[in-house]
């Protein structure tokens, strides 16, 4: 078994060039190494100018999303062994503007996330003296899957609709809205409906399903979106048939 593997890493230095280029680095090959280990080796020993993001290196912070051999992946969870003998092509996450090398700007998502109010919305908060909100395991099961999102943005990189139209609100934002809509403690479904039912909201989604395929946490954003389409559509019908209903 070879003890070296080549990484073809995309470089983009805005102060020097206007296009991305590829640079090859040969890193040690260990069976248990992930792509992130390879990048860290490059930064530590071969080329300190390489820029990329990472943090927890264990698949929970969502920082290290990149495109590995054309697929959106968490580089801390992608083993070099799966690509042996290589080379392994590492590029920045698709569908986001590249700031430098492998670093992309995710400000668009951050802004969209706030618009779906990803927190418990209540008309009146229970006072502390009234104790905790009680929730059965079954009630938590309703939304738990969608709470697993780590905001890694792999779903946005895989979504062609987002790639074609950056106004599209995108899979993770809708899944996170659902996490709160389906939480029994929350009373904010109507407010979120206003945002999500706009044209750039859920209706742009054509159920390609790639977001679910690439999600490292099995959140199934595609399923969340389709479920929400039905909810929103029925709300729409209800409001047309009963315009006097409580708003």
């Amino acid at each position: 078994m070879a003890d070296r593997i080549t990484l073809q890493v995309a470089r983009y230095r805005p102060e020097e060039e206007s296009e991305a280029t590829f640079q090859e680095y040969e890193v040690p090959y260990h069976k248990e190494w992930v792509v992130l280990d390879g990048l860290n080796y490059v930064k530590d020993r071969l080329d300190g100018t390489l820029s990329y993001r990472s943090s927890c290196r264990m698949g929970i912070c969502g920082s290290c999303g990149m495109t590995v051999n054309g697929e959106p992946k968490l580089t801390c969870a992608t083993f070099l062994a799966d690509y042996a003998p290589g080379p392994v092509r590492v590029e920045p996450l698709r569908n986001f503007p590249v700031i430098r090398d492998l670093v992309v700007d995710i400000g668009d998502f951050m802004w969209k996330l706030v618009t779906v109010k990803p927190w418990i919305v209540r008309k009146e908060d229970k006072p502390l003296s009234a104790g905790e909100y009680l929730q059965t395991p079954q009630e938590m099961d309703e939304y738990q899957q969608y709470s697993m999102c780590i905001n890694c943005m792999l779903c946005y990189a895989a979504c062609p609709v987002y790639g074609l139209d950056p106004n599209f609100i995108g899979p993770a934002a809708i899944a996170l809205a659902q996490r709160y809509n389906l939480d029994g403690r929350d009373e904010g479904a109507r407010e979120r409906l206003e945002v999500l039912s706009q044209h750039d909201g859920i209706w742009g989604c054509t159920f390609v399903g790639e977001c679910t395929e690439v999600c490292p946490k099995d959140v199934d954003p595609a399923g969340a979106i389709q479920r929400y389409k039905l909810t929103a559509a029925l709300e729409s019908v209800k409001s047309i048939l009963t315009p006097w209903g409580a708003r």
Binding site: V161, L164, S197, H199, T206, L230
Partner: protein
């Protein structure tokens, strides 16, 4: 309320059309498109088919099948044009052709089914 309240309704029509098309079209197309022309089964006699078509239930079901399938096509094809050919800026023309086409087709379906002697 939503800025474009028509969108959820179009989606509902698309979904209903998708379900009906999936359930009914394969068998109908297999029989009338393959089996009867190729002689695998003998086609129904004219009187039998006419008797079937005359029945109000058949007319209603077939009308729904046609109308919803056309709206299913219209919605899906519209988004295919948006995303596949990236011509979203021509959305007014696309919407006119797709949904307009579906409306025209539905009217024709209604007319033809109504006119069955």
């Amino acid at each position: 309320m939503a800025k474009r309240p028509i969108e959820p309704l179009l989606w509902l029509l698309f979904s209903a059309g998708g379900v009906l098309a999936a359930l009914l079209i394969p068998s109908l197309l297999f029989l009338f498109g393959l089996a009867f022309p190729l002689g695998w089964f003998s086609p129904p006699s004219h009187e039998h088919l006419l008797a079937l078509l005359r029945h109000p239930l058949t007319r209603v079901v077939l009308f729904l099948l046609c109308m919803l399938s056309l709206f299913h096509w219209a919605h899906r094809f519209r988004y295919t044009l948006y995303d596949g050919l990236q011509i979203k800026h021509m959305s007014d023309l696309i919407n006119l052709l797709c949904y307009g086409g579906a409306i025209v087709g539905s009217v024709m379906a209604g007319y033809l089914l109504w006119q069955v002697p």
